[in-house]
C-alpha cells in the first residue's frame, strides 16, 4: 500500500513527461498562417505537419506577400482578422506596427529564440528566413556579349545590357534594395533615393520581376541576362542548369546586403500560444537547415548558420553564391527603412517607369 502511494505520483510524473501528454499541449487548436504561397507553403507544411499535429495544432495556410496581408489587415479595419500568423518583411514592418496590427509576443514561449541574435526579433516579430539582395547574372550571355560582370547596381545601366536587365518590382522588398543601391552609388540615401530613380529612368529594362518562377523562366529562355534579385535565387537557377553567378555590391561601405522575412501574430488571438508554438517550430535549427537545402534561403539561427557555412553553394567558377560566414553577414548592409517614405517612393517609381526609354 505504501509502495502504491510512492509509485502513484511517480507514474503521474512519468505520464506527464510521455509523448501522449505532449499531445495534449493544445486541445485541437487551428492556426491560420499567412505566408508566401505555393511550394513555400508546401515545404513548411511538409516539415511541420506531424510536429504540429502531435501538439494538437492543425495548420491552415493562406498564400500571399507581406504587402497582401497588410492590405487585408487595413481592410479589416480593426475587426477580428481571420489569419493568426502573418508574413512581414523589412519594408512593411513599420506599417504593420503603425496600424497596431501585431500582438505582443510572449518571447518566453519561443525558446528557440535563444539561438537567434537579438537583431532577428523583437516583441512583435521573429525572423524566419533571410536573403541577400544583390545581382545575379548569366555568365555565358555576358561573356558572349563581351560585357564584364556587373560589380555595382549602376552597372546594370550599361548600354550593352539594354533590353536584357530585370529589376525587382517595387511591391517586392528587393525593389527597395536596388533603388537604394543605385542611389548610394550616386550620392543618395534612404531619405534621398532620387539618384536611384534617375538612373532607373534611363535604363532600358526587359521587365520587372515579381515572382521567382518568372525570374527563373526569363533567365532560362535567355531574355534576361542580369537582374537585381536575391543571391539565393541564383542558387535555384544554378540548380536548374542555368550558368549564373551572384554579386554582392558594396553599399555605403558594406559588402552585400541582408533582408529578412518575419512572422508576427495578429491582434486579439484566442490561440496566441499555439501560434507562438508554430513560430518556435519554424525557427528550429533542423527546419532552418532544411529550408536552406530545399529553397536556399539563409538560416536565421546561429547553430544552423554554423552548419551551413560548410555547405556553401558555389557557381561554376567556385565562387560562393551566398555570404554565410557570420563575421561577413554581420557586416552586410541593412537599410534604415524608418527613413523611407514609401508613398513618395511609389510615386517616384511610377514616374521612373513611365520615363523608361522605348
Amino acid at each position: 500500500m505504501i509502495g502504491l502511494r510512492i509509485l502513484a505520483p511517480l507514474f503521474a510524473v512519468l505520464l506527464a513527461a510521455s509523448p501522449a501528454a505532449a499531445q495534449k499541449k493544445f486541445d485541437n487548436v487551428t492556426v491560420t498562417i499567412g505566408i508566401i504561397g505555393g511550394p513555400w507553403i508546401d515545404r513548411v507544411n511538409a516539415e511541420l505537419k506531424d510536429e504540429m499535429a502531435a501538439a494538437g495544432i492543425t495548420m491552415k495556410f493562406v498564400g500571399g506577400t507581406a504587402q497582401d496581408f497588410l492590405a487585408k489587415l487595413i481592410a479589416a479595419h480593426g475587426q477580428k482578422f481571420d489569419i493568426d500568423v502573418v508574413e512581414i518583411d523589412d519594408t512593411s514592418y513599420a506599417d504593420f506596427r503603425r496600424g497596431n496590427f501585431l500582438a505582443k509576443l510572449n518571447l518566453a514561449d519561443i525558446p528557440n529564440l535563444s539561438d537567434l541574435d537579438h537583431s532577428m526579433y523583437d516583441d512583435y516579430k521573429v525572423a524566419y528566413w533571410a536573403s541577400e539582395p544583390g545581382i545575379v547574372y548569366n555568365v555565358d550571355k555576358l561573356k558572349a556579349a563581351g560585357v564584364a560582370p556587373p560589380q555595382h547596381y549602376s552597372d546594370l545601366a550599361n548600354p550593352a545590357l539594354a533590353g536584357h536587365v530585370m529589376l525587382s518590382d517595387i511591391n517586392n522588398y528587393t525593389g527597395y534594395y536596388e533603388i537604394l543601391g543605385m542611389a548610394y552609388e550616386h550620392g543618395g540615401s534612404e531619405s534621398n533615393p532620387q539618384p536611384g530613380f534617375d538612373l532607373m529612368s534611363h535604363m532600358k529594362l526587359q521587365s520587372f520581376g515579381s515572382s521567382v518562377a518568372t525570374e527563373i523562366q526569363l533567365f532560362k529562355t535567355g531574355d534576361v541576362w542580369a537582374a537585381a534579385i536575391p543571391a539565393h535565387i541564383g542558387v535555384r537557377m544554378f540548380d536548374a542548369d542555368i550558368n549564373v553567378a551572384a554579386v554582392h555590391p558594396v553599399i555605403d561601405g558594406h559588402k552585400g546586403a541582408t533582408a529578412h522575412g518575419y512572422l508576427g501574430i495578429t491582434q486579439n488571438r484566442d490561440n496566441q500560444a499555439a501560434a507562438e508554438f508554430f513560430i518556435n517550430a519554424i525557427i528550429a535549427p533542423h527546419l532552418q537547415e532544411r529550408l536552406y537545402t530545399e529553397a536556399a534561403t539563409i538560416p536565421i539561427n546561429n547553430s544552423s548558420m554554423a552548419k551551413v557555412v560548410n555547405q556553401v553553394r558555389v557557381d561554376a567558377s567556385g565562387t560562393p553564391f551566398l555570404q554565410l560566414k557570420p563575421e561577413v553577414v554581420a557586416q552586410t548592409w541593412v537599410p534604415d527603412f524608418s527613413k523611407v517614405d514609401k508613398r513618395n517612393w511609389v510615386r517616384q517609381w511610377q514616374r521612373a517607369v513611365a520615363a523608361q526609354p522605348q
Partner: protein, 278 residues
C-alpha cells in the same frame, strides 16, 4: 482559281489561330516534359525533352479540391447571374420608366470599377457587417459568391439585352393576336428566341467567375480557395511543376464543354446572340 484567291484568307485565319493557341501549346508541351526533381524544376521546358505523364500523376489533391470548388462556385454564380440578369435585361430593354439610362449605367458600373478596388471594398464591407454582429462573409463561399456575382451579372445582362434588342416584337404581337396569353407568349415565343443570349450570358458568367483572381485573392479563405488563386499562388514564388499538367486538363475540359455546347445548343446560335437566329 477561286480557291487560290481564298488562300491568303485561310493563311491569315491559320496565323491568328496559331497565335492564339501558341501559349497553350507551350503549356501542353511543358506538361509532358520529364523535367527535373520537383525541388529544382522551376521553369517550363518547351519543346519537351521527352514524354512523361509524371506531372499528371503528381497533381496535389489540394489542386483538385480547388478546381472542384471553382466549378461549383462558377455554376452557382452563373445561375444567380441569370436570375438577376434575365428580368433586369427585360426591364432595361422593354421598360419605359424614368431614369432607365441611369439604372442601365448602374448595372454596368461593376465593369468600370478597377477589380482590385472592388476586392478591397467587398472585404471592408464584410468586416463591417461582421462588426455589426452579422455573418463572417470573409473567407467564405458566400463572400466569394457575392464578389463574383457583382462582376458577372453585367455580362449576363449585356448578353440577354443584346438578344432582346435584336428580337422582333411583331412575333409576340402575332402570337397575342392568335389568342395566346402573355405568359404563353413569353414561354413559347420570347424565351426560345432569346435563348442564345441566355446561354451566352450563362457562359460569360461562368467564365468570369471561373477565371477571376483579383477579387478572390482578397475574399478567399483557407478552405475556400478558387482554382485561379491556387494557380496564382503556386507560381508567385517557385513554379509548382504540376501546374502545366493541371492547366492542360482544364483546357481540354473547356474544349469538351464547348464541343458539348455546340452539340446541344449550337455555337453559331450562341455566337450570333440574336433572337432571329434560331
Amino acid at each position: 482559281m477561286r480557291r487560290w484567291r481564298a488562300l491568303p484568307g485561310y493563311a491569315w485565319v491559320g496565323f491568328v489561330v496559331a497565335f492564339i493557341y501558341a501559349p497553350i501549346l507551350v503549356v501542353i508541351g511543358a506538361s509532358v516534359d520529364p523535367g527535373y526533381r520537383i525541388s529544382t524544376r522551376s521553369y517550363l521546358v518547351f519543346p519537351p525533352t521527352g514524354f512523361s505523364l509524371r506531372w499528371y500523376a503528381s497533381i496535389p489533391s489540394s489542386f483538385w479540391q480547388s478546381l472542384w470548388f471553382s466549378l461549383e462556385l462558377a455554376a452557382i454564380v452563373a445561375a444567380a447571374a441569370l436570375l438577376i440578369g434575365l428580368p433586369a435585361a427585360f426591364g432595361l430593354v422593354r421598360g419605359r420608366f424614368p431614369g432607365r439610362f441611369a439604372v442601365d449605367a448602374l448595372f454596368r458600373a461593376p465593369l468600370q470599377i478597377p477589380v482590385i478596388v472592388t476586392g478591397v471594398a467587398f472585404l471592408q464591407s464584410f468586416y463591417f457587417i461582421a462588426s455589426l454582429g452579422g455573418p463572417a462573409l470573409q473567407g467564405s463561399l458566400a463572400g466569394l459568391f457575392l464578389g463574383h456575382l457583382f462582376l458577372a451579372t453585367p455580362y449576363t445582362i449585356g448578353s440577354i439585352a443584346a438578344s432582346l434588342q435584336r428580337f422582333n416584337p411583331r412575333l409576340e404581337e402575332a402570337a397575342l393576336t392568335l389568342g395566346a396569353s402573355r405568359l404563353r407568349v413569353m414561354w413559347r415565343v420570347t424565351l426560345p428566341m432569346v435563348m442564345p443570349g441566355i446561354y451566352g450570358g450563362l457562359l460569360y458568367a461562368f467564365l468570369v467567375s471561373f477565371t477571376e483572381v483579383t477579387i478572390s485573392v482578397f475574399l478567399a479563405g483557407t478552405s475556400t480557395k478558387p482554382f485561379p488563386v491556387m494557380i496564382f499562388e503556386s507560381v508567385t514564388s517557385d513554379m509548382e511543376p504540376s501546374v502545366p499538367a493541371l492547366s492542360t486538363i482544364v483546357f481540354l475540359g473547356s474544349m469538351l464543354l464547348i464541343y458539348a455546347m455546340q452539340r446541344l445548343v449550337g455555337m453559331e446560335a450562341l455566337l450570333r446572340s440574336g433572337g432571329n437566329s434560331t
